[in-house]
C-alpha cells in the first residue's frame, strides 16, 4: 500500500509573549492510501494544531511532513495553497458554505482556483460530486434551503470535487444530531470503500468507532495508535436507531 502521508517527530511551538507553548511534542505516524483514520483527543491535546499542519494551513516548527511524496516544509505559501487545492479536501464542522450561492456553485468553488479547467469541466465535475453525495436534485438550492445534513453533504461534495488524495474532516458531525451524523458517516464509509483516504478529527469515541484506525493524542503526543478490530457499519447503526416520534 502506498503512503499518502507520513509525519515524523513533528513539533509545533507557539510563542505567546515570553512563554513558549509546545502544542505538538514529537508526533509520528503514517497513513496509507484507502485508510479511514480518526484522530482523537480532548481539547488541548494538540489535535487542532495537527489538523492545521496536515491540511497544509500551517507548517511544523520541526519534523518531517510528507503529503503524497511532497515535503511541505520546503514549500512557499503559494505552493501550499496549490497543494491544498489539488490534494486535500476539507470538511468543516460549520460546513462553511458561501451564503446566497447555489449548491452547484459552492461545489465548483475549489475548481475556480484551478486555471487548467474550463467552465464546462467545472460544471461537469461539480455535478458528478453532488451526485456522489446524493444531492443531484438540489443543484440550484441555496444553503439556507438545505438541512444541516444536506449542507454538510454539499461541503463533502466540495471536498471531493478536485479529486484529492485525502479528505480532511474537522469535527464534521459536530453540528449534527445523531441520525444525521450517522448518515454522514455512512456516506464517508461509502467514499472510503470506493478508495478515498479519509482523516477525521473528532473527540467523540462513538464516531471514531466507524473508522478503521484511531490515533489518540494527549498533551501533544500520540498515546495510542490502533487498528479497529470490528469497524461498525454506519448504515447498520442508522437502521438500529430507535424511530422517534419527533423525528
Amino acid at each position: 500500500m502506498s503512503k499518502i502521508l507520513e509525519i515524523h517527530d513533528l513539533k509545533r511551538e507557539f510563542r505567546m509573549g515570553t512563554e513558549t507553548v509546545r502544542a505538538l511534542k514529537g508526533v509520528s505516524f503514517e497513513v496509507n492510501a484507502g485508510e479511514f483514520v480518526t484522530i482523537m483527543g480532548s481539547s488541548g491535546s494538540g489535535k487542532t494544531t495537527l489538523l492545521n499542519i496536515l491540511g497544509c494551513l500551517d507548517k511544523p516548527s520541526s519534523g518531517l511532513y510528507q503529503l503524497d511524496g511532497v515535503d511541505i516544509s520546503k514549500l512557499s505559501r503559494d505552493d501550499l495553497a496549490r497543494l491544498r487545492n489539488r490534494k486535500i479536501g476539507f470538511v468543516f464542522q460549520a460546513y462553511n458554505l458561501l451564503a446566497r450561492t447555489s449548491a452547484l456553485e459552492n461545489v465548483e468553488l475549489p475548481l475556480l482556483y484551478n486555471a487548467e479547467l474550463t467552465a464546462h469541466d467545472r460544471r461537469e465535475k461539480a455535478i458528478k460530486a453532488l451526485e456522489a453525495v446524493k444531492l443531484a436534485e438540489r443543484l440550484d438550492h441555496m444553503p439556507n434551503q438545505l438541512s444541516g445534513g444536506q449542507q454538510q453533504r454539499v461541503a463533502i461534495a466540495r471536498a471531493l470535487v478536485n479529486e484529492p488524495v485525502m479528505i480532511l474532516a474537522d469535527e464534521a458531525t459536530g453540528n449534527l444530531d445523531t441520525r444525521t451524523s450517522y448518515e454522514i458517516m455512512a456516506l464517508l464509509q461509502e467514499l472510503n470503500q470506493a478508495g478515498k483516504t479519509i482523516v477525521f478529527v473528532t473527540h467523540e469515541p462513538d464516531i471514531a468507532s466507524f473508522s478503521s484506525r484511531t490515533v489518540m493524542l494527549r498533551d501533544g503526543k500520540v498515546i495510542r495508535d490502533s487498528q479497529n478490530e470490528n469497524v461498525r457499519s454506519a448504515r447498520q447503526a442508522l437502521s438500529e436507531l430507535p424511530v422517534t416520534d419527533d423525528y
Partner: protein
C-alpha cells in the same frame, strides 16, 4: 489563476450583496456625475463668452487714447475727449504696418434718428469702408459706402437691425429711404446683418454707420478721431501687430523713450483670454468641488471594502483553505472595488450628461460636455477604485487562513 475566473468570482460576490454594492457605487456616481455636470457648466459659459467675443471680430485690434495720461498736469480726461489720435496715425499704420491688413478710424456720437413719425435714440459711428471687414460684419441688404463717399463726406449711412426695426414698421425696406439724425438727412444705402448682443450685453445692432468724414464734419464738428480699429493678419500675429502699431504711433506722436504711451492698444485675443481665464477659474473651482465628492466616494469604497473584508473573513479563510493564494484573494477584492467604481463611473457619466442637458433645457445655462472631462473622470474613478480598494484587498490577502476560518 485565470483572470476571468477572478472577475467571475468578484461579480458573484457583488451579486450576493447588490444593495451594498449600489450604495458604495452611489458615492462614485454622484462624484463623477457632479464633475461632468460642473465642468460642462464651466466649459459652456466659457464657450459662449468666446463665441460672443469672436462675433466682434477675432483679429480685431482697438486703439484708443490713454485716459490715464494726465494732460497739462491735473485733471484726467475721459478717453473720448482726448484728442491725441489723428487721421495721420491711421495713415501711418496703413502705410507702415506689416501685420495689419485693414485699418479704420472711428468717431461716434449719440443722437435721435427720425423717420417720419417714428424716432429712436441711437449711436452714429463714423468709420471707413474697411470697418465692415475688420468687424467681419456683412450687409443684409443694399451696398456699403465707398472711399468716394468718405472723400465727399456724403450723407449716406448703413443702419443696424435694431434701428431698422424701430424706424421702419411693417416690412418696409429701409434701403433708399432718407432718415434724419440730429436734423441732418442721411440716405440709407444698406442694412447691416444682425449681430446680437456683445459680451457686455450691449445691443450691437443699435447703430448707424456713416463715413467718418461725414460724422466728423456734420455731426461732431471735430478733426481728431476717437478710436482706431485695425485687423491683424490672423489671431496668432495679433501680439506682433500690437507691438508694431505701438511703435508706429510712438514715432508718429514723437514720444521720447521715457514717455508713457498716450494711447492704448487692445486686441480681441487679450479680451478673450481675460474672459477665458475667468471662466477657466470657474471651471477649475467647480471641478475641484466635484472632485472632492469623488474623493469622498473613494473613501466610501475603502470603508465598505474594509467592512466587507472583516465581514467575509470566514469566506476568505474558506477560499484560502480550498486553494486560493494570497494574490487570488487580493485580486478578488481589488477587482470588486474596480468593478464598483467603473460601474459607478459609467452610471455617473450618464447622469452627468443627462444633468447637463437638463440644466440647459430648464435653466437655459449653456453647457458643454467635453470628451476630456468624461475620459478624465473615468480614469480618476478607476484609479480611485484601485487606490482605495488596494489596502483592504492587501489586508484580506494577508489573513492567516487558520485564524480566518475560526473567525466568528
Amino acid at each position: 489563476m485565470n483572470i476571468f475566473n477572478l472577475i467571475r468570482i468578484a461579480l458573484k460576490a457583488l451579486q450576493r450583496n447588490k444593495l451594498r454594492a449600489f450604495l458604495t457605487m452611489l458615492g462614485i456616481i454622484i462624484g463623477v456625475g457632479a464633475v461632468i455636470a460642473m465642468v460642462a457648466i464651466g466649459q459652456g459659459s466659457k464657450q459662449s463668452i468666446q463665441d460672443q467675443l469672436s462675433s466682434m471680430g477675432s483679429n480685431m485690434i482697438t486703439i484708443r487714447p490713454n485716459s490715464n495720461m494726465s494732460v497739462g498736469g491735473g485733471a484726467r480726461l475721459d478717453a473720448s475727449t482726448l484728442q491725441t489720435l489723428k487721421l495721420e496715425d491711421v495713415k501711418a499704420i496703413e502705410q507702415q504696418a506689416k501685420y495689419i491688413t485693414a485699418v479704420s478710424p472711428q468717431v461716434s456720437g449719440r443722437g435721435q434718428a427720425i423717420n417720419g413719425a417714428l424716432n429712436w435714440p441711437t449711436t452714429i459711428q463714423g468709420v471707413s469702408p474697411n470697418y465692415l471687414d475688420i468687424r467681419d460684419w456683412p450687409l443684409k441688404d443694399g451696398v456699403p459706402f465707398g472711399d468716394n463717399d468718405v472723400k465727399a463726406a456724403s450723407k449716406v449711412c448703413l443702419i443696424g437691425q435694431t434701428v431698422a426695426e424701430n424706424l421702419f414698421s411693417g416690412g418696409e425696406s429701409p434701403v433708399g429711404k432718407t432718415i434724419r439724425f440730429n436734423k441732418i438727412p442721411f440716405k440709407i444705402i444698406g442694412v447691416l446683418a444682425e449681430k446680437g448682443e456683445n459680451a457686455f450685453g450691449q445691443d450691437q445692432d443699435d447703430i448707424i454707420l456713416a463715413p467718418y468724414t461725414t460724422v466728423q464734419k456734420r455731426i461732431l464738428a471735430i478733426t481728431y478721431i476717437q478710436n482706431i480699429f485695425a485687423s491683424a493678419l490672423d489671431e496668432n500675429s495679433s501680439t506682433l501687430a500690437t507691438a508694431e502699431v505701438s511703435q508706429i504711433l510712438r514715432t508718429a506722436h514723437k514720444l521720447k523713450p521715457a514717455d508713457d504711451d498716450d494711447f492704448l492698444v487692445r486686441t480681441q485675443a487679450e479680451l478673450i483670454s481675460t474672459f477665458s481665464s475667468t471662466s477657466q477659474l470657474l471651471t477649475v473651482l467647480l471641478a475641484a468641488i466635484a472632485g472632492i465628492s469623488l474623493v469622498v466616494g473613494g473613501i466610501g469604497i475603502m470603508n465598505i471594502m474594509y467592512v466587507s473584508v472583516t465581514e467575509r473573513t470566514k469566506e476568505i479563510g474558506l477560499r484560502m483553505s480550498i486553494g486560493a493564494r494570497g494574490i487570488d484573494i487580493l485580486l478578488q477584492f481589488l477587482i470588486e472595488a474596480i468593478l464598483i467604481s467603473i460601474t459607478g463611473g459609467l452610471i455617473g457619466i450618464a447622469l452627468g450628461i443627462t444633468a447637463s442637458r437638463l440644466i440647459t433645457v430648464f435653466l437655459s445655462w449653456p453647457t458643454l460636455v467635453s470628451e476630456s472631462s468624461i475620459v478624465l473622470s473615468f480614469i480618476v474613478c478607476t484609479v480611485t477604485g484601485v487606490f482605495f480598494g488596494y489596502y483592504p484587498a492587501v489586508k484580506a490577502s494577508r489573513l492567516d487562513p487558520i485564524e480566518a476560518l475560526r473567525y466568528e
